[in-house]
């Protein structure tokens, strides 16, 4: 089952969106590890309106190897969404 969470980081500029997104991801990884969350997949979405954050957040996720991610852009609006996929099997397998 998929647990979807969305966090709005609009109005925040570098490096806050990146720092806050990493905090959230770590928080949820810990929740999966401790068994507080038992869903097979946790999907975290971060909404940012600061374009550099749409680069820096995925870069950092990739560097830290948290899981799959994708970057979405709202049509005709300066708004980006970074989705991270935390898979229970992968996190507990590590």
């Amino acid at each position: 089952m998929v647990l979807v969470k969305e966090f709005g980081f609009q109005g925040q500029i570098c490096p806050y969106p990146m720092v806050n997104a990493m905090k959230k991801i770590e928080e949820y990884i810990n929740k999966i590890k401790s068994g507080e969350i038992t869903d097979e997949e946790v999907r975290l979405s971060f909404l940012v309106d600061h374009m550099p954050a749409a680069d820096s957040v995925p870069e950092e996720i990739e560097k830290r190897g948290y899981g799959g991610f994708r970057v979405m852009k709202a049509k005709g609006k300066p708004l980006w969404r970074i989705d991270v996929q935390l898979l229970r099997s992968k996190i507990l397998g590590d």
């Binding site: 709005g8 806050y16 806050n20 374009m51 799959g68 994708r70 979405m72 852009k73 898979l87």
Partner: protein
């Protein structure tokens, strides 16, 4: 849910498991949703159409969460949270001027208007003998390049520490090397374009003075302020042009802090020119090869004392940088022609790589150095220092809010232009929007701006003055300024984000 997403990136292991998320999963979501509702950030904006930009991150399509249900839960979140998200605009609103002629299909008209205006201003500047007006033109170009490439000197330093990433710093170093070559070309060491442009009045850009105590303290304060405000003087100005309210406030408090340091209560301590105030009495003097004692020594002067000319000095520095560069990150030929090909529309609307922005900024800064000196030599509307963003804002305050201001002063107009240029660039990309941060960030930005203003006045330079256009003159003062600004950025980054 009305968002239509475009996928940007699917890089790192997102797995497309096509299985549909079953409806019960949504029920599962309901309970934790309350928790999300209590979190302040959980304020999703509604009504966007999303497009996925890239799908590089190993995203696995486990099927989108059933849309109708998700919308329901989002509605609940919206109800529970203090509604920070703006009311959803109807999808087909009447297009404004900027959406139509900049971001839209008629972008060519917008570009024509911008170029025609810039040429018009240049013509007026020459025709009315107000060369200071060219500051506006150079400022628009710099602001445009800064916004397009998201060039950020603060980020170059911060990310070495925070993200262990050296990309922006390398782009900055490339930019500095190019400006150094350009500086040698325009000065009498090379082609002497500067003496020709100023009718023999200036033969080189005056390097910044070696007021070491003021630079050590002022640079550090500037670095602290940069991190708090989320951008240096130039960075915070171009973000103000993009619509960040926090940065707009920082620009205003920067002017306040600078005025207080330069002319106000703190001026006996940090204000004025070298020798004018307590901190600025510590000046490092140097006797050159020709026996002159100067207060703004450069590495060129020191090498000249050893009988080594400016060109061998510059080539030595380039070789040294190249060796470190290749040793650290290998040798790779830069991509000159992009895969997508070159089109005017791409250049105007799309993001530039930091390399392209770095090269563009180097070229514009060299043009700016010439125009700034010409404005001073012909019309007394500038300074023969390197160009400087914080100083521009300081002079802007002085020019327009004091009785003896010079309305056509070059660097003040450059900063006005920089903000306009970033605004235009953001409009072309369809990225301009007013962004309101939370209260804490506004206070932090206001304090950061004030500290930047104070620091810039103390050390007589900011990231642009000391680093971008000062370091290429190899002035000892600017090199020390780079060191102290970087220290301020690193210490504050560590305290704020890494503990």
């Amino acid at each position: 849910m009305a968002e239509e997403w475009e996928e940007l990136e699917k890089g790192g292991g997102w797995v497309d498991t096509e299985e549909e998320a079953p409806a019960p999963a949504e029920v599962e979501e309901e309970a934790p949703e309350e928790e999300a509702a209590t979190e302040e950030e959980a304020a999703p904006a509604g009504g966007e159409e999303w497009e996925e930009l890239e799908k590089g991150g190993g995203w696995i399509d486990t099927g989108e969460a059933a849309p109708a249900k998700a919308a329901l839960t989002l509605e609940e979140v919206k109800k529970a949270v203090v509604p920070k998200a703006k009311p959803t605009p109807p999808p087909e609103v009447k297009k404004g001027f900027f959406q139509e002629f900049f971001a839209g299909d008629s972008w060519g008209i917008g570009l024509f208007l911008v170029i025609a205006t810039l040429i018009g201003i240049t013509w007026i500047a020459i025709a009315t003998n107000n060369i200071g007006l060219t500051g506006l033109v150079v400022g628009v170009l710099i602001g445009f390049a800064f916004q397009k490439g998201r060039f950020c000197i603060y980020m170059a330093h911060r990310d070495i520490l925070l993200a262990k990433s050296y990309g922006m710093m390398k782009a900055l170093v490339l930019c500095l090397i190019l400006i150094m070559i350009g500086y040698l070309l325009v000065s009498d060491h090379g082609l002497g374009i500067l003496s020709w442009a100023t009718g023999g009045k200036f033969s080189a850009i005056t390097p910044r003075p070696f007021i070491w105590a003021a630079i050590l303290i002022g640079g550090f304060i500037f670095g602290v302020g940069t991190v708090l405000a989320g951008g240096c003087a130039a960075g915070t100005s171009y973000r103000a042009g993009e619509g960040y309210i926090g940065n707009m406030i920082a620009v205003i408090t920067l002017m306040l802090g600078a005025s207080m340091g330069m002319f106000g209560a703190l001026s006996p301590l940090v204000g004025g020119k070298p020798g004018d105030s307590y901190l600025k009495t510590f000046v490092g003097k140097y006797t050159t090869a020709s026996g002159k004692t100067i207060s703004n020594p450069t590495i060129f002067d020191i090498m000249a004392n050893q009988g080594i000319g400016p060109w061998p000095t510059a080539i030595g520095i380039i070789i040294l940088v190249a060796i470190i560069w290749i040793w650290k990150s290998g040798f790779r030929l830069p991509e000159i022609i992009p895969k997508e090909g070159i089109s005017l529309e791409r250049i105007v609307k799309h993001k530039w790589t930091k390399w392209k922005a770095g090269v563009a900024i180097a070229v514009i800064v060299i043009i700016g150095l010439l125009a700034h000196s010409a404005a001073e030599a012909w019309c007394g509307q500038g300074h023969n220092y390197s160009i400087c963003a914080a100083c521009g804002l300081v002079r802007l305050t002085h020019n327009y809010f004091s009785t003896n201001g010079n309305l056509f002063e070059w660097s003040g107009l450059m900063m006005v232009g920089l903000i306009i240029g970033a605004f235009i660039s953001a409009q072309f990309a369809g990225e301009f929007t007013l962004r309101v941060p939370e209260g804490k960030i506004i206070l932090q930005a206001a304090l950061g701006g004030f500290l930047m203003g104070l620091g810039a006045v103390t050390s007589l330079g900011c990231t642009v003055g000391h680093i971008l256009s000062g370091v290429p003159t190899l002035s000892l003062g600017s090199l020390l300024g780079w060191f102290s600004i970087a220290t301020g950025i690193w210490v504050t980054t560590y305290m704020l984000f890494m503990r």
